[in-house]
């Protein structure tokens, strides 16, 4: 199962966990599964998160495929200058 790494601000909303294992074949499925597992994550995820899948930062594409061994990081959405 893919492991999703949460940034520290999300951990309080996920029972203190830094890594959550969820089922999913796409970024969208992963995010949905995350919210199902940790309902507290619904608001920040809807507000917008960046998802890094194997090093590529995905801002919004829910259909991006995810492998069972993919490295997934949730990151705060970027604000540049």
């Amino acid at each position: 199962m893919p492991e999703v790494h949460l940034w520290s601000g999300l951990r309080a909303l996920a029972g203190g966990r830094e890594v959550v294992e969820v089922e999913g074949r796409t970024v969208g499925e992963i995010l949905d599964a995350l919210v199902a597992a940790c309902p507290g994550l619904k608001e920040p995820i809807e507000a917008g998160v960046s998802v890094a899948v194997d090093g590529r930062i995905i801002a919004s594409a829910r259909n991006e495929p995810v492998n069972p061994d993919s490295e997934i990081y949730l990151l705060q959405r970027l604000r540049g200058g």
Binding site: G55, I57, A59, R79, G81
Partner: protein
């Protein structure tokens, strides 16, 4: 024609490999150059409307005060005054929420104070009158009674027990128990076991660093012209990095339907992140709605300094361990950033960028977002990253000096590469740090002799870069010319890059393409011009939109020739049969197809709407020589070289310009720029006289080297280039000063008196 012909191509941003470009990589004149050298270009304050009123804003002179009474009646009674607004004239439906979740509320509270004035310069009321002079006179007639409250402007002071509380309940759930209420967000990241890593080191250095808030310092003050009717429909002209964002915020703050407010972005006189948010536009619209006339609102320079976003100031602790051979064994950083009277200081980016240049087994970073009685910070070129680079790269330099190691070799030894697990988590794809270091090492600057009193410093820097929501539309004309409509304001020559990419794909001359920054009513949503995203994301969308048009052009040729579209290729601006089997037809130029497009299926346009995801991260290495006057403590930068990975430089001259501009801003930040607050919490230097950005005679020529390590996430390999260039200069100059004068400056700016104090300590120690 099949419906799917009009569906934009999704995804597929992959780099398409090396190729011979015809136009990309050349250096043509920018399309808007003529307007900008003749004075015809229209910036924020350059629009006038019939019946227009002029507005002015009353601002708090106090750093922290309760607004006990606000009486605008005398101002309203002044001849020529047509409207006065206060907080009561804005939406009641924008809801407060902790952290940055309630960003619309934060913006509203920032642009017009509610119960309290939270910083010197906080807007309290605004007036629209028939002339600017009457508007200014009217402000003096507004009576405000303040109850002055204790204030705090320093980040470390604001975290201490007993510090004045800016706003209870502003902290989100990330903040650990027991912190002061001014600490509103918390971040931690990293991997490995740093204590184990430090135990492996031959030398561990731990130091404290500070950087002062600096302002983006764009020369054009914020300006807008708005008209809003009682029917809820409005028009807005403003200088902004993102007019769809302005539209969204204004609609929310004034209870409008977003689509009913059309926003046009003027030419923009610099932004650097400072025009990614909203300060005056809702105020102008509220005044217009009340007065029933168009309202122009232009900030003064003092207002820009007092009430728009400078960057955050920072207090940082860095600890790095190194082996004698230069291997970094562990790194740890704590970053406390104050972002003014609202949540949002970019401390997570500071933390995430801090060690991003290095391949580290053990790394840990912690960030605090702290509120103070200062203006709400705004993004500034790689927000959060330069201060981290200052602290981290200074410590690495000190380690190199003490271990007798070459600073470039040590950085090469530890440099992040493809496959390195980044300090902020994910694993890097193809990146170009090593290439910038190698190019810096090979540059004549690195080996050039120094004169007495001079020192050389180097530093690396990192920025993420960004993609973001993007729409581009491309329409062909009958004569074969093309209009490209983009939604990202052109801050530094991006029209030229867009035209080059469109010309490359269409195969027509650059001069036959006109790139327009479309208003919100003419194109789909576009995110702000930020995060170095324009050449990457709008560029990618332009390529895709042009390819969408090319597919339709090929279809027309296929229809004419009676063959399948798959048998038609597009080569050098012409449809050609893909091979001998496709038939024997003469190449059909684009203009031949468009000449008859009305009769052969209708107008031909290309579109692309998506959120490109593959913005490649970017690295730079800077070399600087500085000279220190040991009698006065004054530093002069005598030589400067920027080496940066651009992925692929679309218009190399403008890439160089971004490198040079970032370096110059970094030099200002390092040496002379700072927000200076008095004991009374008032900003002491709200003008270009005492907020000292570099002037022409302060700087040397700034040499540039463009490294091109293709970004795997862009068809041509483009990486954003706008921001990374401001990350290395702070440390590079501190390192040069250290090598020139033998003193290590840990606080920015390195103003002469600070250097002199360090020199005095050096003498006392000796």
């Amino acid at each position: 024609m099949a419906l799917d012909e009009y569906r934009p191509q999704e995804g597929d941003e992959a780099y398409e490999g090396p190729r011979e470009f015809r136009q990309v990589g050349t250096r043509p004149d920018r399309p808007d150059g003529f307007d900008k050298v003749t004075g015809r270009a229209r910036f924020g304050a350059d629009m006038y409307a019939p019946g227009m009123l002029h507005a002015a804003i009353l601002r708090s002179p106090h750093a922290h005060a309760r607004i006990v009474r606000l009486d605008t009646s005398k101002a309203e009674a002044l001849e020529g005054v047509k409207a006065v607004v206060t907080r009561a004239d804005f939406s009641k439906n924008v809801i407060f929420a902790p952290g940055t979740v309630g960003e619309f509320w934060n913006i509203l509270e920032n642009i017009m104070a509610g119960e309290k004035a939270l910083y010197d310069g906080h807007a309290v009321a605004a007036v629209a009158a028939t002339t600017p002079l009457i508007a200014r006179d009217a402000l003096k007639l507004i009576e405000v009674e303040y109850e002055i409250l204790p204030h705090v402007t320093d980040v470390d002071e604001a975290m201490k027990p007993g510090a004045p509380v800016i706003r209870e309940g502003a902290a989100d759930r990330s903040v650990p128990e027991g912190m002061h209420p001014n600490v509103v967000r918390y971040h931690e990241s990293g991997h490995g076991d740093v204590e184990a890593g430090f135990a492996e080191a031959d030398l561990v250095i731990e130091d404290h660093f500070t950087t002062e808030a600096t302002h983006q310092g764009y020369i054009e003050p914020h300006a807008c012209l708005g008209t809003l009717g009682a029917d809820g429909k409005g028009e807005l002209w403003c200088c902004t990095q993102g007019h769809w964002y302005v539209q969204k915020v204004c609609a929310a703050l004034l209870d409008l339907e977003t689509a009913n407010l059309r926003v046009t972005a003027s030419e923009i006189g610099g932004g650097f992140g400072g025009k990614t948010t909203v300060f005056i536009e809702p105020v102008a619209l509220a005044l217009s709605r009340k007065a029933g006339r168009p309202v122009k609102l232009v900030m003064s320079r003092a207002e820009v300094f007092r009430a728009t976003g400078p960057t955050a100031s920072a207090s940082m602790d860095i600890r790095i361990g190194m082996k004698k051979d230069g291997t970094i064994t562990a790194a740890q950083g704590t970053f406390r950033l104050q972002g003014g009277a609202f949540p949002g200081a970019p401390m997570e980016f500071t933390a995430m960028c801090a060690f991003a240049c290095y391949d580290l087994r053990h790394v840990r970073q912690v960030g605090y977002d702290v509120m103070t009685n200062r203006p709400k910070q705004a993004a500034y070129r790689a927000p959060g990253s330069p201060m981290a680079a200052f602290a981290v790269e200074s410590v690495i330099d000190e380690l190199c000096n003490r271990l007798g190691l070459d600073p470039i070799e040590v950085r090469l030894k530890n440099a992040a590469r493809e496959g390195t697990k980044a300090s902020y988590g994910p694993t890097y794809p193809r990146i170009g740090l090593v290439e910038t270091l190698e190019a810096a090492r090979a540059h004549p600057h690195y080996a050039a002799p120094l004169k007495p009193g001079q020192g050389r410093g180097i530093s690396c820097g990192f920025w993420f870069n960004y993609g973001g929501e993007t729409s581009v539309s491309l329409a062909l004309s009958e004569d074969g010319s093309a209009q490209v409509m983009v939604g990202t304001p052109d801050i530094g020559g991006s029209r030229a890059s867009m035209a080059l990419m469109a010309a490359e794909v269409l195969g027509i001359p650059y001069e036959n393409i006109r790139v327009t920054v479309a208003d919100t009513g003419s194109l789909g949503y576009n995110e702000i011009s930020h995060g170095s995203r324009v050449t990457y994301a709008s560029g990618l969308a332009t390529i895709k939109a042009a390819r969408d048009a090319v597919r339709k052009l090929r279809q027309r040729a296929a229809d004419k020739w009676g063959i399948d579209v798959e048998a038609v290729d597009w080569v050098d601006g012409c449809a050609v049969p893909s091979g001998p089997n496709a038939g024997d037809f003469d190449p059909l130029p684009l203009a031949e197809i468009t000449k008859t497009m009305g009769a052969t299926g209708g107008p031909i346009s290309g579109h692309f709407e998506a959120t490109p995801e593959g913005a490649g991260v970017s690295f730079a290495t800077h070399i600087v020589d500085a000279e220190v006057d040991r009698e006065t403590g004054k530093t002069r930068v005598v030589r400067y070289t920027v080496v940066q990975d651009a992925g692929k430089a679309i218009h190399p001259t403008y890439v160089e310009g971004q490198f040079q501009g970032g370096a110059a801003q970094g030099i200002g930040w390092a040496l002379n720029e700072e927000y200076i607050y008095g004991e009374d919490g008032r900003l002491q230097n709200p003008g270009f006289l005492d907020y000292r950005i570099p002037v022409a005679s302060d700087l040397p020529m700034i040499d540039t080297v463009i490294v091109e390590v293709p970004n795997p996430g862009h068809p041509f390999g483009v990486r954003g280039v706008g921001e990374t260039s401001i990350c290395p200069p702070l440390a590079a100059i501190a390192n040069a000063v250290s090598n020139a004068a033998g003193v290590r400056l840990r606080d920015l700016p390195m103003r002469p008196s600070r250097i002199l104090d360090e020199l005095e300590k050096q003498r006392d120690d000796a």
